[in-house]
């Protein structure tokens, strides 16, 4: 069962790498989806470099979301920041409910076309899962454990770095994973405002009514999402094991 899962992932990875490195090998597969002799494989740029830009955009946005959401989560769970909890929750929720397309529309007049508006949209969209998970991770630490830590003379800083954050880490990582996976798909809309990414392939397909293009763009994004999801899951499992926890889902 386990070997099969690894094999499947390996196959997906090989397929993905081959496809973005040498897409023309797959031309015969996509040919039936085109009409009027249109090109079967995206030909307005290298799929490889588009994939890299796509990943760069998603991961820079995730990094920014992580830094802001985790710091905010820490701040509002300290005694001094407790009163800002409802406010931060509302702000982060707005970031999630405001559609990324609308964010793009608002951001373009302010920062111009290109990567910047996409980064802003993804950053806002990715905050909520990380922030909420940071909160629940930090608030779920047993009060008894914290009482013991305090009673042994650990300072607030030592308790945060040595007890609270390590115990919350697996949950925070799950939030980061959710955020990254959601934004891998969402990032495609960045191509409407001229950000380099896999959305270009899909949009080109829509404009020229070329199903093969649409499918190629979608397929690469989907494979990326599955593989990155799995990779982050393994990271979480390793971290959980290091922290002495039974990894979620594993039989005890």
């Amino acid at each position: 069962m386990r070997a099969l899962a690894i094999l499947l992932r390996l196959a997906a990875l090989v397929l993905l790498v081959t496809f973005i490195a040498a897409p023309n090998l797959f031309a015969p597969v996509f040919q039936p989806l085109t009409t009027y002799d249109a090109p079967a494989i995206y030909n307005q740029g290298s799929l490889f470099s588009l994939t890299l830009s796509h990943l760069a955009t998603v991961f820079s946005a995730a990094l920014a979301s992580t830094v802001v959401a985790v710091l905010l989560g820490i701040f509002v769970t300290r005694p001094s920041g407790l009163e800002f909890l409802p406010l931060s929750r509302s702000l982060v929720n707005i970031g999630q409910t405001f559609p990324p397309v609308a964010v793009l529309a608002v951001a373009v007049p302010l920062v111009g076309f290109g990567e910047a508006p996409t980064l802003i949209a993804l950053f806002l969209y990715g905050l909520l899962p990380i922030f909420e998970n940071t909160l629940s991770g930090l608030t779920n630490v047993s009060p008894l454990t914290l009482e013991a830590a305090k009673g042994m003379g650990m300072s607030a800083r030592q308790r945060l770095l040595g007890v609270e954050l390590p115990l919350a880490l697996p949950i925070i990582l799950a939030g980061i994973r959710l955020s990254v996976v959601i934004n891998l798909g969402t990032a495609t809309i960045g191509s409407t405002v001229a950000a380099k990414g896999l959305g270009e392939v899909i949009i080109a397909g829509l404009q020229s009514n070329n199903t093969a293009f649409i499918l190629q763009g979608g397929l690469i994004v989907a494979l990326l999402a599955i593989l990155i999801h799995d990779a982050l899951m393994s990271v979480e499992r390793i971290v959980a094991r290091r922290l002495g926890q039974q990894p979620a889902g594993a039989a005890a």
């Binding site: 008894l144 009673g151 300072s155 002495g244 926890q245």
Partner: protein, 312 residues
């Protein structure tokens, strides 16, 4: 020497601890006993300043605890709580090493101290040092909790219902361990419990609290024989009183000269246990031996009963 002077804690209009004064001798076990809500835990937590007193002060060896930075104060005072509060993400060895690490001990010293404590608590270092708390039984977790509290060789150990979550058999064992370890290190222990039996068994001195006030502070025998208030008398149990008194003395206290037949009893056995054995065996006398098995004399039912009589 720990001196608690007029310690009071108020939350708004509620007084949780009301003007409590106690003087605790070095190297003794003091048990604070009371029902829940009596203020006993708050009293304990004011000693290591987890709760700041509203008024009054605590002196340790003559030094006001308010003059010591709170974290530094807590490094010097061991603290063990019910349900142990172990760090689930750290191994047993790392848990025990917490305070020594905060104090910046070198690794060799930490390792040897952890090793010593594990052995002392009958946890084989090879087997347990690298385990995580959730891989241990309740009794083992509790022992690690106490070991952790003792790691930095504190002179004072505070224990808040440390054995409350354990089943009776494991609790009995944990109490014996505590007595043995306290004798070995000479640590001053202040322990909070609601269990009268535990208080009389462990305490050199017992402090009885009710509704924020300290009702009586004395040796177990004093509290049994001269309860200060009706409430204390009820708490110690009028029916159990003679038996409790017997459990405070050992066979050595009721030793009589002369031979007796039957299974010998060790001189360290409590009179209560000795009486129980004689009743069970249907005897009126038993021979007494010391730790090496040498005959010392005998003990009789009449002699034991005299120890359970109300003193004149």
């Amino acid at each position: 020497m720990i001196e608690i002077e007029h310690l009071t804690k108020r939350y708004g209009n509620t007084t949780v601890v009301d003007d409590v004064s106690l003087s605790i001798a070095k190297g003794t076990i003091t048990v604070v006993v009371g029902t829940s809500g009596s203020g006993k835990s708050t009293l304990l937590r004011m000693i290591n300043r987890l709760v700041e007193p509203s008024s009054g002060r605590v002196l340790i060896d003559g030094r006001d605890t308010m003059s010591i930075p709170e974290d530094a104060l807590r490094h010097r005072i061991g603290y063990a709580i019910q349900g142990h509060g172990l760090f689930p993400h750290r191994t047993v060895a790392e848990n025990i090493a917490t305070v020594p690490r905060l104090l910046g001990w070198d690794q060799a010293r930490i390792d040897s101290r952890v090793d010593e404590l594990l052995r002392l608590f009958q946890l084989a270092p090879d087997e347990f040092a690298r385990k995580y708390p959730q891989q241990l039984s309740g009794g083992q977790q509790q022992r690690v909790g106490v070991a952790r509290a003792l790691a930095a060789e504190p002179e004072l150990l505070l224990m808040d219902e440390p054995f409350g979550a354990l089943d009776p058999i494991i609790r009995g064992k944990a109490q014996e361990d505590l007595l043995a370890i306290q004798r070995r290190f000479g640590t001053t222990v202040i322990l909070v419990t609601h269990d009268m039996e535990e208080a009389f068994h462990l305490g050199d001195k017992v402090a009885v609290m009710d509704r924020a006030r300290l009702l009586q502070y004395g040796t177990p025998a004093e509290i049994l024989v001269h309860p200060a208030e009706a409430y204390v008398e009820r708490l110690v149990g009028t029916a159990d009183r003679p038996f409790r008194l017997l459990s405070l003395s050992t066979v050595a206290d009721a030793l009589e000269p002369g031979p007796a037949s039957g299974q010998p009893v060790d001189k360290g056995t409590s009179l209560r246990d000795a009486l129980a054995r004689m009743m069970w065996a249907g005897r009126t006398e038993m021979p007494v031996v010391d730790g090496a098995g040498a005959a010392l004399g005998k003990v009789s039912v009449a002699g034991i009963l005299a120890h359970g009589r109300q003193p004149a």
